[in-house]
């Protein structure tokens, strides 16, 4: 141990630390929770950034003893809430304020790091360029934002710090116009290009709030709303920008143990012998558990509604391991170091079994059987004897007849990779017994209510003795729609009686968490020479890995969404011919699961690459060809009568389709007509080996699962006329708490700051299925509206009575009362304030607690639509691709909050960009992962981003009280195929497998040359 004396946030401290302890560990132990753990080993994520003598460094890779005599600054020393009762403070630092105002905070996990990196930059360089800002924050990975809003925020803060406080001075609309609802068809001026001809980098304004462009349909224009459609600040932004202890791991519990898991080093084996005695004997070890120590309960880790639409094939611990990374034993110890030592002392003898590492081998006769356990519970067509986790056969119309009627048949096979959600906050859970002997599970989950229901039998506890608390979540993207690690900590708490924390490392995220299902997809499409699609067929081989979680529903969505978009034209439009067959097979690789987009990006890679190839072969305009065959308003969703996530399908008419407007606006922004087919534009002067290309993909998603997804909300009124909104919905960084508050505020006639949102806690908040399937704004939002209407009705009744008492001559009925501006107002203008109503209700007359509840499930799943565009530069000699620009025009219905919604689009496009060019998870012939960190698994950094642009096409979806559809998942769908199509446009090379790595493209170019030579 050593005494370290250093200045922390301006205060000299003397800490006793062990020589090998990192600064991150020391800071968090001392309660500086604004310094985040990203699980990485090489300092690649930067979530743990602190300033060391004014410079940003990673505290995870700095020994505490190294900072002896130095100055350290954490986010806790930067700024604070300006108003703390009678005590006033200087408030937030300008950088923090700008991050809040610019919508730069999504999950908020990396926000403290951004704030510190920005502070360091601006102290050194008060007037940085955009590139300098991007470089300064490139040490911090963000998986939510796409970096655009953080960059805008930092430039804005710089302006403020330079004294440019006059709002008028900040407006620079020469290139990026203010949001407009320009008339349909009118072209926007294109973004100027720089001297070299390449598009200019992100052109930034210094407006107070950065609004995306919006096209507003007449239906939307008619609605006069005060809170919906406004860029309200995120309700959790102030706490997140201060680095407050808002996340699951930001908690201190006396006697808390640290959990670790021994993961399998082999892909498929039986545990012949396991000896825990040495590990148990190690001082500081509180418990070591293997399969012999806990009940054998079969379940599914998929965080879905009851009954789980998939097989039950998982145990907390088993005598068999099914992939490298599978669980062998659990350890709880006083420290992380002791827990890791204990893992090394566990002796395991494995009986190796043949492994399946290629999905194509899984169903072959004689293939090893991965699930031979007698407890296996089938769902639907699952058959463990064939390694079949699920199977789907959907025939719509007469597909064979459609092929016969075609002039041409196009067939091709496409491949999509396994990819990781890579949320910066790893999976983390803390469990403990409360004073009532109820098990509390504080976890970073998207599905708190599913966690409670699914874990109850696994732990041998009734649901009523489990409480699940979901604090803030540092990103999820589907990875936390899984009951993945909660059982580990819970078993250990049961075993020891003590609080236990289990937090994944980044390596564990790669070897033992979930991922996107990799697939091989064969397309067969019949087309007439005029471009009419007569029949469309997709056959999928989907690899669910060692367990079947989400296998059926993810793969079902692959067809359900992507194959629904193109129904054909003419008679085929009324009676489309569509086939979707899928085998979802087990392999000895880490299980796949839910990942933003939920199977749909896998579907649109082949569909949109295929459509591009067909249109080019037929000599048709690729966009006109797509629109000719695309589904239109008032038509039946072709899959709605065929499949519904393993449940009974019911017919659904699509009410709003903004696809044509998306195409029109997207084309105008990217300058399609000036570039597509223009040979001059495709060339890069002075660099004959570079070629430019432009591509498009049209996509659709869904909004919630009809007749299934339910969300609940309750609202109660406080003495001052403010309201507590309790929702079971889980804001995983998306801003859903904010948009739900906006909806409540709209109904109740108050500013958003009067709505105090709490989400979510299974003891206190109403049920909600959780954050998935693009459902929160639509489903949970409708529940909030119902609860708010319930409250509003009670307020109006009381207000009418109060107004009559106060103004006896006024004749008024409650229905006539208008709630606005914190008042209940009679048509004649007399009013009472909501505070007066609240005091009257709680203290004065016929006392009651004014509160309301609402719950909602939907009979429909209205699809959002989008046109996604990409511009690329291809090096035709090396195969290297640079994506220069991405544009997305999206019909998401009415946008509740343009800033949070555009943040979703930008972040989604950035994730999808990784899917296009660099992200994949690869295994060797032993099943060992190639990617185990965020170095080899590269996700985009701030200093290598293409230009991102978003435009919202606001249709009015009649099935929702405010006309909304979903926005969260659809940006994932079209970037990869748009990039693939842009590459085809640039150089004529067809790449069938993503990500489009340099070698894959080089091989495609080579193949093209060989064909040309012959």
């Amino acid at each position: 141990m050593k005494t370290v004396s250093f200045s922390l946030n301006g205060i000299v401290l003397h800490w006793e630390v062990s020589d090998g302890e990192t600064l991150l560990t020391s800071l968090r132990r001392e309660g500086y929770f604004g310094v985040k753990f990203g699980g990485c080993e090489k300092g690649e994520c930067g979530a743990c950034t602190v300033l060391l003598d004014g410079k940003p460094v990673n505290s995870c890779s700095l020994l505490t003893v190294q900072v002896n005599g130095k100055n350290v600054q954490t986010i806790e020393g930067l700024g604070e809430h300006p108003d703390q009762g009678w005590k006033k403070t200087p408030g937030l630092h300008p950088v923090q304020q700008a991050l809040v105002e610019s919508g730069a905070i999504q999950c908020g996990y990396c926000t403290p790091a951004f704030a510190l990196a920005a502070k360091a930059l601006l102290e050194k360089n008060p007037n940085p360029s955009e590139d300098e800002v991007r470089e300064a924050i490139a040490g911090v990975l963000c998986r939510c934002t796409g970096y655009l809003k953080p960059v805008q925020a930092i430039l804005k803060a710089a302006a403020k710090l330079r004294g440019e406080s006059d709002e008028q001075d900040w407006v620079d609309d020469t290139v990026f116009p203010l949001p407009v609802d320009w008339p349909s068809g009118e072209d926007e001026p294109t973004v100027p290009e720089n001297e070299s001809g390449a598009p200019r980098r992100q052109v930034l304004t210094r407006r107070k709030v950065f609004m995306p462009r919006m096209f507003i349909t007449p239906e939307v224009r008619q609605k006069t709303l005060s809170r919906i459609g406004k860029p309200e600040l995120k309700v959790d932004a102030i706490k997140l920008v201060q680095g407050k202890p808002a996340f699951a791991a930001d908690i201190e519990k006396r006697g808390m143990l640290i959990a670790k898991v021994l993961h399998s080093p082999v892909a498929h084996a039986r545990i012949k012998h396991i000896d825990l005695s040495k590990a148990r004997a190690l001082p500081g070890v509180a418990a070591v558990l293997c399969y012999k120590d806990i009940p054998r309960v079969v379940y599914s880790t998929a965080g879905q509604s009851d009954p789980i639409p998939g097989p039950l094939d998982t145990f907390s611990l088993d005598s068999k391991v099914r992939f490298v990374g599978d669980r062998v034993a659990f350890v709880a110890a006083e420290t992380e170091e002791i827990a890791e030592q204990a893992l090394k002392l566990i002796e395991v003898e494995y009986e190796p079994l043949p492994a399946i590492l290629d999905a194509r081998e899984a169903m072959k006769p004689g293939a090893p059987i991965i699930h031979d356990e007698p407890e296996y519970v089938n769902f639907g067509e699952s058959n463990p004897q064939k390694n079949l986790a699920a199977q789907i056969h959907i025939d719509i119309g007469d597909v064979e007849k459609g092929f016969e009627e075609a002039d041409r048949i196009y067939e091709a096979e496409y491949v999509v990779p396994k990819v990781q959600q890579a949320h910066i906050e790893p999976h983390v859970v803390v469990t403990y017994w409360d004073e009532d002997d109820r098990l509390v599970i504080r976890t970073s989950t998207q599905v708190p209510f599913h966690v409670r229901r699914i874990l109850a039998p696994v732990l041998g506890l009734p649901v009523k003795r489990i409480r699940v608390i979901k604090p803030r979540i540092g990103g999820g993207f589907g990875g936390k729609q899984e009951v993945l690690i909660e059982d580990v900590a819970a078993h250990l708490t049961i075993a020891t009686g003590r609080p236990v924390m289990y937090e994944y490392t980044r390596e564990e995220e790669f070897i033992a968490a979930r991922s996107r299902h990799p697939m091989r997809i064969r397309m067969k499409t019949g087309v007439k020479l005029d471009g009419t699609i007569t029949a469309n067929e997709m056959r999928v081989l989907s690899d669910t890995g060692a367990y079947g979680c989400h296998g059926l529903t993810v793969t079902g969505n692959t067809g359900h969404k992507s194959m629904a978009l193109y129904v054909g034209d003419g008679p085929y439009r009324k009676s489309p011919n569509i086939r979707f067959y899928a085998d979802i097979v087990y392999t000895n690789t880490p299980p796949a699961g839910a990942y933003r987009g939920y199977g749909v990006p896998q579907g649109f890679w082949p569909v949109e690459r295929h459509m591009e190839r067909i249109s080019r072969d037929l000599g048709l305009d690729p966009i006109a060809f797509r629109l000719k065959n695309a589904i239109r308003e008032g038509e039946l969703h072709p899959f709605s009568t065929a499949w519904s996530e393993g449940r009974e399908p019911r017919p659904e008419i699509i009410q709003t389709v903004g696809l044509e407007e998306c195409v029109r606006q997207g084309k105008a922004i990217i300058g399609w007509d000036q570039k597509f087919g223009n040979p001059e534009w495709h060339r890069v002067p002075g660099k004959p080996y570079l070629r430019r290309g432009i591509g498009v993909a049209l996509v659709m998603q869904g909004t919630a699962i009809p007749y299934l997804d339910m969300g609940g909300a309750s609202i109660k009124m406080n003495d001052d006329g403010s309201f507590n909104l309790l929702v079971g919905a889980t804001d995983l960084g998306t801003g859903s708490d904010t948009v739900l508050a906006q909806m409540a505020a709209e109904v109740l006639g108050v500013p958003v700051e009067d709505i105090i949102v709490y989400s979510s806690d299974t003891d206190f908040t109403p049920f909600d299925k959780g954050a998935y399937a693009s459902s929160t704004t639509y489903i949970s939002g409708a529940a909030v509206v119902k609860a708010a209407e319930d409250v509003a009705e009670k307020i109006k009744k009381r207000a009418a009575r109060m107004i009559k008492e106060r103004y006896p001559n006024v004749q008024i009925s409650p229905e006539e009362i208008l709630l606005e501006d914190r008042k209940a107002i009679a048509p004649s203008g007399e009013y009472v304030t909501l505070e007066q109503v609240a005091l009257n209700a709680l203290h004065h007359t016929d006392q009651e607690q004014i509160m309301g509840i609402g719950s909602y499930y939907s009979p429909v799943s209205p699809p959002p639509f989008a046109a996604q565009f990409a511009e690329v530069t291809v090096d035709v000699e090396t195969g290297q691709v640079t994506v220069d620009r991405l544009v997305m025009a999206v019909d998401s219905g009415v946008i509740v909050n343009p800033v949070t919604a555009s943040g979703q689009i930008e972040g989604g496009m950035t994730q999808a960009l990784g899917y296009a060019v660099c992200e994949e998870m690869v295994y060797d012939h032993h099943g060992q992962a190639r990617e185990r960190d965020l170095v080899d698994y590269h996700i985009f950094r701030a200093n290598e981003m293409p230009q991102l642009e978003t435009v919202f096409i606001q249709t009015y979806e009649p099935s929702h009280p405010f006309g909304v559809k979903a926005v969260a998942e659809i940006p994932m769908d079209g970037v990869a195929p748009a990039v693939g199509n842009a590459i085809l446009d640039a150089c004529g090379a067809d790449v069938f497998e993503n990500p489009i790595t340099p070698e894959r493209l080089w091989r495609a170019l080579k193949a093209k040359r060989q064909v040309a030579d012959h």
Binding site: C60, S61, L62, T878, F940, N943
Partner: protein, 253 residues
């Protein structure tokens, strides 16, 4: 795992630690790699107070102290701009603020851009205590220290450096990287990387004839989980040809 940490204030104090020999003493630079070491019972000697963080230029020679950070190099007026760009590609700013040149060189693998560039520039390690010098190529091939710690690294500034890489994204690690250094005398050195445990020296000669063949030969066995040898050979040829053409046009220009 680090068992003991020492921060000597003088060189002799540091030497005493290394002389003890009763423990596994290793020098600590910025700690960006070593702080997370899983190696058992390491004793680290932090060099931060030994004054090794100086950037000196003597004639055409740059002498960089071992504890100069990568960011210091980027901000130094003495470092050529092409080398700065390579450094920028080598690590993010957070890591550059912490990682020292000595530590970087010691932990260089085949995918380390700065390691590849320094090898092409024929950088030399200077070891303490005997001022013994060691070429970077020698270090990469045997990884045997010639002293207690690296005191500094030196290279010629009158060398023209060209660096090209192919990667999945602009700031990704290289799949293939080529660095060519040219001296006024006509001497040419070329190093490649993007794979393997260390950068590879392909050629060190008075002229660049045979350069392409040499690169292709060096890449003949370069296939790994990230790219095939066939691809690297073909693209290596492309990159070298471009760099040579560019050099020729720059010369003419």
């Amino acid at each position: 795992m680090i068992k003991e940490y020492y921060r000597p204030k003088t060189v002799s104090e540091a030497e005493q630690l290394f002389k003890r020999g009763d423990n596994k003493f290793v020098p600590l630079g910025g700690g960006s790699v070593l702080s997370r070491s899983k190696e058992e019972d390491l004793c680290v000697v932090d060099l931060q107070e030994l004054g090794l963080n100086q950037v000196e230029v003597v004639g055409h020679k740059a002498i960089l102290g071992a504890t100069v950070t990568l960011q210091q190099l980027i901000e130094s007026d003495s470092i050529p701009i092409h080398l700065k760009e390579v450094i920028r590609r080598s690590a993010t700013i957070n890591i550059r603020n912490q990682a020292t040149l000595g530590g970087y060189v010691v932990s260089t693998d085949g995918r380390s851009p700065l390691g590849i560039a320094l090898m092409a520039m024929d950088a030399v390690l200077i070891w303490h205590p005997n001022q013994e010098t060691q070429s970077l190529g020698d270090w990469f091939s045997i990884r045997q220290p010639r002293g207690y710690w690296i005191k500094g690294i030196q290279f010629n500034l009158n060398v023209e450096l060209a660096y090209e890489q192919v990667s999945r994204t602009p700031m990704d690690q290289p799949i293939l990287a080529v660095a060519i250094a040219r001296w006024a005398s006509g001497r040419v050195r070329i190093a490649i990387g993007g794979f393997g445990k260390s950068p590879i020296l392909v050629l060190d000669g008075p002229e660049d004839s045979g350069l392409i063949e040499a690169v292709k030969n060096a890449l003949s066995d370069s296939g790994d989980e990230w790219a095939s040898a066939e691809y690297r050979q073909a693209v290596g040829e492309v990159l070298v040809r471009r760099m040579m053409n560019k050099n020729a046009s720059d010369y003419q220009g």
